[in-house]
């Protein structure tokens, strides 16, 4: 009896000891606390996954998007919950900024990309460098390239490719039709009998003007919004001479809205060449957010509309 009693006492003591220990241990550091909270949330995650499971295709639960317009399309499709990372150029919508940034879209680091463990990468055409892409493909991470383009059809193509990659082609078709219609409306509204000559100024560092030539997204959006590119005869974004600016005689100057450190109207009027253009005389200077204007994503109808309104307003 006494023997038995002693054992049970010992057992009780051990239990008591065990029960006391966790409260005695002060969690060291924030990470331990976070881990504990995370562990407590596990049942929640599991339930969520079990609930969502049957409605999901199995590929692409951890999606990395590369390219501002691609990320925007994923948000527009309502699939942003599946995003786990983005590149530096993906700055819209605001919620995208909270995702881990894997760096500039043309200078990716393979290990950086793999470290966030994507099971699907949707990348805009031209993502790279090629050797990084090859390594990622060798790690058997599915890779989908989205074609880039600067015309009305480009947005539809992008949406279709992204939606197919995410396994939601129906929703993609709906969104594409919706955006196509909005874009067609915006373009119809934008049509102008005497299209203004628009010069897109990318930068004006030290008074030197970098302007958009042919085959640029700036030219694409200017055309859709019922204008013509004032700068001709070169491709891409180039530094242009002051005489070329005078010869081009733009009716409107278009710039990116950089919030805070933008070039002021006074800077433009004071510039020896820009100041002499019809645009400066009428203060016809339009600023729009860069990704909205040049992204060729779901907000392009909005960009066309805002640009054409601005063009009409400054033309008077």
């Amino acid at each position: 009896m006494s023997e038995h009693h002693r054992t049970s006492c010992a057992v009780q003591a051990r239990f008591a000891d065990n029960a006391v220990r966790p409260t005695n241990v002060v969690p060291v550091g924030v990470s331990a606390a976070l881990r504990r909270i995370g562990r407590r949330l596990v049942p929640l995650w599991v339930t969520a996954l079990l609930l969502l499971g049957p409605f999901r295709v199995d590929a692409g639960e951890r999606v990395l998007t590369l390219g501002g317009s691609v990320t925007e399309i994923v948000f527009a499709l309502g699939e942003q919950e599946r995003l786990i990372g983005r590149d530096t150029t993906s700055s819209f919508p605001e919620a995208a900024l909270t995702l881990p940034d894997v760096g500039y879209v043309r200078a990716l680091s393979p290990e950086g990309v793999l470290s966030i463990e994507p099971d699907l990468i949707i990348a805009i055409e031209g993502s790279g460098p090629p050797e990084a892409v090859e390594v990622l493909k060798s790690a058997q991470v599915p890779w989908v390239t989205v074609p880039e383009g600067y015309d009305a059809q480009a947005v539809r193509r992008k949406i279709e490719v992204v939606a197919a990659a995410l396994g939601v082609p129906d929703r993609g078709a709906t969104l594409a039709a919706q955006i196509d219609a909005a874009l067609a409306d915006a373009i119809a509204d934008a049509s102008n009998e005497r299209p203004p000559k628009v010069m897109f100024v990318l930068t004006m560092m030290g008074g030197r003007i970098m302007a958009a030539g042919a085959e640029t997204s700036a030219e694409g959006i200017i055309r859709l919004a019922g204008g013509v590119n004032a700068m001709e005869g070169f491709e891409g974004y180039k530094q242009v001479s002051e005489e070329a600016v005078l010869a081009a005689a733009p009716d409107v100057i278009l710039m990116m809205d950089r919030g805070g450190h933008a070039v002021s109207d006074a800077d433009i009027v004071a510039h020896p060449a820009l100041g002499q253009t019809p645009a400066a005389a009428k203060q016809a200077i339009v600023r729009l957010p860069g990704l909205l204007l040049l992204g060729f994503g779901p907000r392009t109808p909005q960009a066309v509309q805002r640009l054409s309104e601005a063009l009409r307003a400054v033309q008077g």
Binding site: Y104, R106, A107, E111, G112, V113, S115, P130, E134, E235
Partner: protein
Amino acid sequence: MTLAASADRNSGLLGDRRQGARATLLLLAVLLGCVSVASLTVGASGASLWAALGQGLRGEEIGLRERVILFDIRLPRLVMGILVGAALAVAGAVMQGLFRNPLADPGLVGVSAGAGLGANAIIVLGAFLPATLQATLGYYSLPLAAFLGSWITTLLLYRIATRRGRTSVAVMLLGGIALAALTDALSGVLIYMADDAQLRDLTFWRLGSLAGATWDKVALAGPLIVVALAAAPFLARALNALALGEAPAAHLGIPVQRMKNIAILSVAAAVGAAVAVSGGIGFVGIVVPHLLRLLIGPDHRYLLPNAALLGAVLLLAADMISRSIIAPAELPIGIVTATLGGPFFLWILLRNRSLLDM
């Protein structure tokens, strides 16, 4: 300051420093081992070398992702870091010895400018290459063009500076500046032609990175660098003698012209290959040899092997910073080497001012 006083403060400046140099060599070898292991262990992802080794030893299958990260990303990157770091540091030491100029670096023989021109040309004009050639070369066209660019520039400069079988170091120095100006101008034309994306590519290339390391690139650049580095020990005695001047070196029985040929060609091969696969990584070629001269003295027999080890250690350490500081993105390594190397070098200079003034 008298010589005695300064010798007092820098004990070890006079007398036999071979002992110290050997100890440094051993220390650096151990350090390289440690940094190598660390470089396999540290990265943006949580992939662990030890876990993978354990799994391998137990005969378990290592996950594909871990395998790719460890063996196709980190390991080639480690090997390339060692090769490139050693190549840049040894080439710097050889150039400084050959030109008897503390500012000399491989850039002086046109390597960097030529490689830059080659890289610019392929980034901007690569699309105009015949389609079959593009298909065969793939992304090796860039390192190949950079290597060809550096090699052609160096050989051209060598021809310019060599008359009647004698290479004039002075002509090479000044000719190198002229040639670099010319190649930079050509690069400027290409930069003007480049579009937005190409401009970003050019900038990133100039800042250097080991991120693109693949086994194929190691196989391309490795043999050249190893062969060139293997030539360095044979140059050590000659470089020591050359410190007295070319004529005294010749009187000491050093085949000066042959030695110049070997030095210039091996530097061009090693640095050309290094720059081709990693882009422009500054400062290693200057900092490492000077640091070592302060530590172990100017004897090239010890300077060159020590430089190879320290160059490798520094580049691996810089690479670890470059890939983890803004993970999952990556900072170009040229930025890291210059940001850390610049102030550190200044500090060394200020601390040892009296020593350098002597």
